[in-house]
């Protein structure tokens, strides 16, 4: 992929002039930002600001109309994500969670986590059907790895339970565990605090920090819960109506006039 301009040193994801519109409405409009390696980056904005759309573009669920999304892949090569199909993204080292938890109810927690290791399996169809020794070994080692991650997140004791019927907090953790299976470079979390209570949200902040430190990866956080974002992020980017609003440290964002207006409305609005 020599035609893609290499990213500057220390940058893992660079979005330039990203735009997408649905039926004439610009959901994301000329958005640009960069994420550094090992950074916890928050993307915030009021409802309908285009946060989720922006990252559906990054993960290629939507194909953007304009703009480039460059990413430093696992092999230390800069790739243009727009040139890849949605199922190829994880292989490059970019993985995501879902706002409304997308797990398979009928499978056990462990099996759900193992779905995250799908691309690591070398066994073919035949090997899987006759369960060759190689297939068995591979399955066992990945199972062990999955158990380690579940242990890390503190839910190893529930590994064999089916996902259906588990409380929301556990489901969120299972999704998190699933993303960790592929040894990612960048994890995108779509509203991880949604549906969690205060205690769980506090715990989540710790988990996110530990993941960054233990797994050496960057985290892109799309979130409504301001406390979590202010608490855990190194850098925050605020957007509104699909457009860039402000970028900076949590403190800077807190004091930024434009952000305050976007969230609270202008003085006249409040009257």
């Amino acid at each position: 992929m020599s035609h893609v301009q290499p990213l500057e040193k220390g940058i893992i994801l660079s979005i330039e002039n990203l735009s997408i519109s649905f039926g004439g409405i610009k959901a994301v409009d000329n958005l640009s930002f960069q994420i550094k390696e090992k950074e916890i980056f928050g993307l915030i904005g009021p409802n309908g600001a285009g946060k989720t759309t922006a990252f559906n573009c990054i993960t290629q669920f939507y194909k953007p109309n304009h703009g480039s999304i460059r990413f430093l892949s696992k092999k230390d090569v800069t790739v243009e994500l727009n040139e890849h199909a949605v199922h190829e993204i994880i292989g490059l080292g970019l993985v995501r969670t879902f706002q409304n938890v997308e797990l398979i109810r009928e499978l056990s927690i462990l099996d759900n986590v193992l779905v995250g290791a799908h691309i690591d399996y070398k066994t073919g169809l035949f090997g899987a059907m006759v369960k060759t020794r190689k297939a068995k070994k591979e399955e066992e080692s990945l199972r062990l790895e999955a158990m380690k991650i579940l242990q890390f997140l503190g839910i190893a004791d529930k590994a064999m339970w089916p996902v259906g019927g588990q409380p929301y907090g556990i489901l969120k953790k299972v999704e998190l565990a699933r993303t960790l299976m592929c040894a990612p470079r960048l994890i995108i979390l779509d509203e991880p605090a949604a549906g969690l209570n205060d205690v769980e949200t506090l715990g989540l902040a710790d988990v996110i920090r530990t993941i960054r430190n233990e797994y050496n990866c960057a985290v892109l956080l799309v979130e409504h819960d301001m406390r979590l974002v202010m608490d855990v992020c190194d850098t925050i980017c605020a957007i509104n109506f699909g457009k860039f609003l402000a970028k900076g440290s949590p403190k800077e964002i807190k004091l930024n006039k434009d952000v305050q207006v976007a969230y609270l409305g202008t003085q006249e609005d409040q009257v």
């Binding site: 993960t59 994880i90 009928e106 499978l107 099996d111 779905v115 169809l125 369960k131 399955e139």
Partner: protein, 339 residues
Amino acid sequence: MKKLLAQIKAYPYTKYILLGLVLATIPSLVYFDVLKSSYVTLVGVVMIYTIVSLGLNLLLGWSGLISLGTAGFMGLAAYISAYMTMNLKMPFEVTLIVSILIPVAISVLVGLISLRIEGLYLAIATLAVSEIFRKTFAEFEFITNGFSGKSVRYPTFFGFFKLDTTMTYLLLVVFMVVIMILIHNLINSHVGRALNAMRGSEAAAQAMGINLLKYRLLAFALATALTSTAGILYAHFIKYVEPSKWNLGLSLNILAVIIIGGVRSIIGTFVGSLVVFAVPDLVLKQIPYFGKIPNFAYIINGILIIVVILYYPAGLIRVFNDGKDAVVKLFKKSRGKTV
């Protein structure tokens, strides 16, 4: 001894092998006049439909893709194998491979369509495919012998080893048990998880690197391979293929097998096949008055589909398991009291 028993119980394939062994005794029971000779045909047919239904279960149960073309593909394989062994005098081994490959190739095309259309339309598309087959079977007289049907012989292996009724029956047992074990392995592997993920959440599946096109085609190909195997075995076990057999009614009966027996359950599929294809002859016809109603079984299966989906979505296999659990609980409780 206890340890050995525990080991056998823990061995994942025990239930399939046990089932196979039990079924394998039926010809000798017939020989000793314990059972009527019609049982061999009846149970053989049940096993054949278990194989088809396992294919449909793989497609509908595990992968979440519906197909109403089952009977069409089964008929196609039956006709190809009949034509190849009877008209072209090809060896059974070659026939087996070709009669699986051709339907699989066609089903892959259907799979390609499935990726473009939404889930609900798939049933209609596959219904159209089966209609294409049905009309074609009646027209391609030089292969199918038209409406009068086509006679077939028991399989011959290596050119000289001719099977008789019992041997063919045992061949069915072997095929069914091996297929059950292969599917058991498959669904517990990463491939099985990928199929499950595709059904559970297409978005999550894609995000986890599962190529939907590849796995949809795989699901269609595997299901059709099993359907074709069953079609070939049917032709060579019943020794007769007729065009009117491969209609929507048969596809619906096969659907009934997995819904009634148990979606995503291997043993449940066998139970369902037993209910749909053997219970009518064995039980329903013996019931006074109701047994005389034509189509009684067909009506019951239709009602069962609706009732099971509404009130017992896991199927009959769940009833057995719940029953077993209840007995175990009862046993444990009573033992607890005595201690």
